[in-house]
Each structure stands twice: as C-alpha cells, then as structure tokens.
C-alpha cells in the first residue's frame, strides 16, 4: 500500500520503467511482420550498411511510422480517458464509450465531404473539425446529464451511448449518400485502423498530443481534488470551472488528433487508465504520464497482434481493442457499480 507521498524518485523511476516497456514494444513491432527480419538484418538496416533496399523500406517507411502512430494513438486515448474520468467524475468514462470519438469522426468526415479540407487550411482542416466535433459532444453530454446541479454518471453513459450510435449512423448515412463507393471509407471510421503515415503528419499529431497532455499534466493536482468531490475541491482552493473547461478542451484535442487519422479505436481510454491506476495509484501527477506510456506500449503490442494473428489478413486494431475492452467494461462496471449509480 502507498503510505508515502509521491516523491520525485518514485515518479521518475516509474516513468523510466514504462519508457523501457515502450521501447521494447516498439522493437517488437519493428521485428515482427509478414516479412520476417532477423535481428542482424535489422541492425544492419539501422546502421545503413550492406542491407537489401527492401529491408530498409519495410523498417523505415512501413513498420516504424505505423508503430509510432500506434504509440501516439495509445498515449493520447489513455491520457484523454484518464482526464475524462476525473473531470466528468465518472470511472467508466472513455472517449469512445461517451461518443466523443464519434463526434470527432463525424467532424472529420464533414470536413472532407464539405470540401473544407481542400481549402486553405490543408491537412489541418480535418483535425480541427474533429476537435470541434469532440468538444461540442462533451459539452452536450455534460449539459444533458446535469440535472439540478448534479451530474448523474449513469445518465451520462446512457446519453453518450446514444450519441455514439447516432454519430455512427450519421457517418454511414453521409458516406453512403455522397458516394456509395465510399462505404468502405466509412468502415475505416467505424473500426479504427492504423496505417503508416508520413513523418510530417506524425509530427503534427505528436505536437497536438504532447501539448494537450502537457496541459492536462499541469492540472493534475486539480484533477485529484475533483475526484474528492466538486465542492470539496472548491474548498481546497481549486478553480473547478476552469479545471473542467481546460480538461475537456485538452482531452478533446488529443482525442480529435487521433481520431482524424485512425478512426475509432475503442476502450483504450477505459482499460489503460484503470490498469495504470491499479499499478501506480490514482495520483494524476503520476497517473497521466504513466497511462500515456502504458497506453502507447499497449497499442503498439495490440497493433502488432492485429497484423500477425491472422496473417496475411489484418484485423483492424479497433476490432481487437473492443474485443478486449467489452468484457473489461463489464468487469469494471461491476466493481464501480456503487459509484456509477451513486448520484
């Protein structure tokens, strides 16, 4: 049991350990795939000597960008889930379950169907529209589940579920109405898919995720206080309104950044924060970065599995996370039932 405060020593030791896990998962993702690369061939490719051109292309243009995208997506969704669970005071909150990812996907799709993304803003248009979609969804959920000043967690889950179904139907409807051939594109949004992206796009996502996560971390202590109750947080000197607004905006931003490029990868934001909390405790100053690293490593491994389990066929990684996440949700619901139906 943690009978001590969070010390810098425990903080850095935990993060170092998780960084090592992430590094190991990235190595695994680089090594495993339809083309089997021996460690020596990989080493040769890394140092750029005497290797076949093909090995180098597979490593640098296919596997690494995809693994990095998986890491970014895992980190972002886990961070967002952790933050949403605190600011919404709902242990079962997750960007996917609450329809926030769905809102982001609908925003992203609207941008490409309306042609905004071929306008002056370039590739930034899609994530910006996704951000608007995610942010509006959270605010709507919060407004709808607040009744007489009290936010009811169960209503929130219900409303989120309805939002999610509605957004998914809208996505299918829009894609079909505009061009039936695009239904395959709609499927991309409905089941999250990871594909190698250019390093420029990866850097863009990375900046969005890092800044969102960084802002969340600055408010980590405030998130702890909100877990102790809204009124209590206020009495302890926390500006609850501002924390909630900043938390929602930052978490929506990182959700949108991921959804714009990967579609809907579900339940990562639920399972990872709970695992991290179990392993490292609920203090958000450690929990946020720990969830991010654990989520990054976790999704890299999940993506590697999705590429290899039924090789040469690929399972979309979003299918895999929901297959694992669904049962996990049921277990977590049983454990947190008292809290969820409390208010």
């Amino acid at each position: 049991m943690r009978s001590r405060r969070l010390t810098p020593k425990r903080f850095f030791a935990t993060l170092l350990l998780l960084l090592a896990c992430l590094a190991a998962s990235l190595l695994l993702a680089l090594a495993v795939g339809s083309a089997r690369l021996s460690p020596s061939a990989m080493l040769a490719a890394v140092f750029g000597q005497g290797e076949p051109e093909e090995t180098s292309t597979i490593l640098w243009q296919v596997r690494l960008p995809r693994a990095l995208l998986a890491a970014l997506a895992g980190a972002a969704l886990s961070c967002a889930g952790t933050a949403f669970q605190a600011v919404l005071r709902n242990p079962l909150a997750d960007p996917y379950i609450l329809g926030i990812s769905g809102g982001a996907a609908l925003g992203a799709i609207s941008s490409s169907l309306s042609g905004v993304d071929r306008g002056g803003m370039g590739w930034l248009a899609r994530p910006l529209c996704a951000f608007a979609g995610a942010g509006l969804t959270v605010l709507a959920i919060l407004a709808l589940s607040r009744w007489r000043g009290v936010v009811a967690s169960t209503s929130m889950l219900l409303i989120g579920w309805v939002f999610n179904s509605f957004f998914l139907a809208m996505i299918l409807f829009l894609e079909t109405a505009v061009d039936f051939a695009k239904v395959r594109g709609a499927i991309f949004w409905l089941v999250g898919t990871l594909a190698p992206e250019s390093y420029a796009v990866l850097a863009g996502i990375g900046v969005a995720v890092a800044s969102g996560a960084g802002v969340l971390w600055l408010f980590a202590r405030e998130l702890d206080l909100i877990c102790a109750g809204e009124e209590t947080a206020r009495h302890l000197g926390c500006d609850v309104q501002r924390t909630r607004l900043v938390g929602i905006l930052a978490a929506s931003l990182i959700t949108a950044a991921v959804v714009s490029f990967c579609g809907l990868i579900g339940f990562v934001g639920l399972i990872v924060p709970h695992s991290a909390r179990y392993l490292f405790g609920p203090d958000h100053r450690l929990l946020l970065p720990a969830s991010a690293l654990l989520g990054a490593a976790g999704l890299v491994v999940a993506d590697t599995l999705s590429r290899t389990l039924l090789a040469p066929t690929e399972i979309p990684v979003g299918v895999l996370t929901v297959l694992i996440g669904g049962p996990a949700f049921v277990l977590l619901y049983r454990r947190h039932r008292a809290e969820v139906s409390l208010e």
């Binding site: 405060r5 669970q85 102790a228 302890l236 000197g237 500006d239 909390r277 609920p282």
Partner: protein, 267 residues
C-alpha cells in the same frame, strides 16, 4: 490578523422559498459555535454562504475583514476549511493522499509536496488518531474513521477557521464524543475558530462556547448554552416539549425531550 467570519445583511433564498432576510452574524476569532435548529431552518445554507459555496443575493460575507468573494481560491482555502457531512472520493486514494490534498493551497509552482508537507499531514492524522491508517484506502474505512480523516485534511490546510456540517451524523456514541473532544482541543490549544452544525443538543451544549439557534432563516437566539437551551426557545424552534436538566459532571444544560402534548406550535 482579524480572523473573524461574518455575514452582513445577507439576503438569500431559493426560487421556491426565501430563506434569509438581512441576516447579520459574526463568528469571532477563537470562538466555538454550534448551530442548532430544526430541519429546513437554513443551517446548511448558512454554512454554504459562510464557506463561499453559495453567494448572497444581497449583502456580504466577510472573512478576516475582506469580502469572501474577492479572495482568490487558494487564499480562501488557507483561511477557511470545510468538513463536509459525507464525502465520496472517486478511486482508491490512500488516507495519506487524501490528507495531502489539504496541502494544495500551500503548494508551490511545481505542485509537488515536499517532505515537510508529508510531516504536516501525518501530524494532522495523529491529531485525530488516524496516523496508523495512513496507507489504507479511504474507501475501506468506517464512516467514523473517514470523518476523522476529513477533519485531518481540513487541518492540513492550516486554516484559521473551521466549518463543519454535522460531523457526527453517522457516528456511534464513542466517535461522536471523540470528534467533539478533538474540536474542543483544537479550539483551546490552537485558537482555531470553529462553527459546527449539530443535531445533538446535549453534545453541542457541553462542548460549544456559543450556540446559535436558527428557525426558518431567522436567528432565534444566540449566546452561551444555558441562555439558548431553555424549554421556551426549544419549544419555539423544534416544537417539542423538553425538560432542561444539568449535566452532573460538566454543569452544562442537558435536554430531556418529551412528546409534544399541545396542539399547534409544531412546524
């Protein structure tokens, strides 16, 4: 420093029911006040106004001579701490972690507690006799233990004023006494100003130095326990017949209630 907490001509009410009309009150520094009154008299609302959770529709709440609403949140938390009636903490925070939350208004820019903060938190836990439980998860404690931890968290804020909303409601006899003993000690030794809502007239009479009797948003009486706890005032406030005896050991008023005999008077 002026450590009083006061209300001046406060008007406050809910749409369905006006409650306070130009109410003025002072909690002087170092005082130990018990707020009594029947259900719906406005005790909890009074506490919410004094703690800044609710804002008066007119009039002002002053803390240390300054308007409470103008105090920055952290500064207010260093001056004034609130112990809620019950508090549910999401996720398994340990007792020490919960008490360390009380150090938030004192944290520096980095937002990390130092060893001094931990020592302070453990001292506060020792003060309420809960230092042995520092590593346990708050949600595994009994309500009496949890209430003591919440008091320790309030103490960790190092406030000058402590407000409590019926801290003994869910507690058994032993723990009720224990909480009041702790409050009384803090009031005597640290000159901490305390205002607590209470439903237990006898405990309040024994430990509080001053009692405020509220009814329908009005201050019916205020003064030393023997001045406030008279059969007439209690009948007026609670609509109950009582006999006021004397506590044989402490000499404070002791209330023995009887069923209300006459028609009318009850609210």
């Amino acid at each position: 420093m002026n450590e009083s907490l006061s209300m001046e001509l406060v008007r406050f009410g809910y749409p369905s029911r006006p409650l306070f009309c130009d109410l003025s009150l002072v909690l002087p520094g170092g005082e130990f006040v018990g707020v009594l009154g029947p259900n719906g008299a406005g005790k909890t609302t009074l506490l919410k106004l004094l703690s800044g959770t609710e804002r008066p529709q007119s009039g002002a709440v002053l803390a240390g001579g300054r308007a409470l609403r103008d105090l920055p949140a952290r500064e207010r938390a260093r001056l004034l701490a609130v112990v809620p009636q019950e508090s549910h903490v999401l996720f398994p925070f340990s007792v020490l972690e919960v008490v360390l939350m009380g150090r938030f208004p004192h944290l520096g820019i980095l937002g990390m507690e130092r060893s001094g903060d931990e020592r302070r938190a453990l001292e506060c836990l020792a003060e309420v006799g809960m230092d042995q439980a520092a590593g346990r998860a708050l949600n595994t404690l009994s309500s009496g233990e949890r209430q003591r931890v919440l008091i320790a968290r309030a103490l960790a804020q190092e406030p000058r004023i402590l407000l409590l909303d019926e801290p003994t409601t869910f507690l058994d006899l032993k723990h009720q006494l224990r909480i009041y003993e702790i409050l009384s000690k803090l009031n005597r030794e640290r000159r901490l100003s305390i205002l607590t809502i209470s439903h237990d007239l006898n405990l309040a009479a024994r430990y509080c130095r001053q009692l405020w009797l509220l009814q329908d948003g009005r201050l019916l009486a205020r003064g030393a326990p023997e001045e406030v706890l008279t059969p007439e005032l209690i009948r007026l406030a609670y609509g109950a017949d009582v006999e006021v005896a004397r506590d044989p050991r402490f000499g404070t008023p002791f209330i023995i209630p009887y069923p209300f005999q006459e028609a009318g008077g009850a609210s």
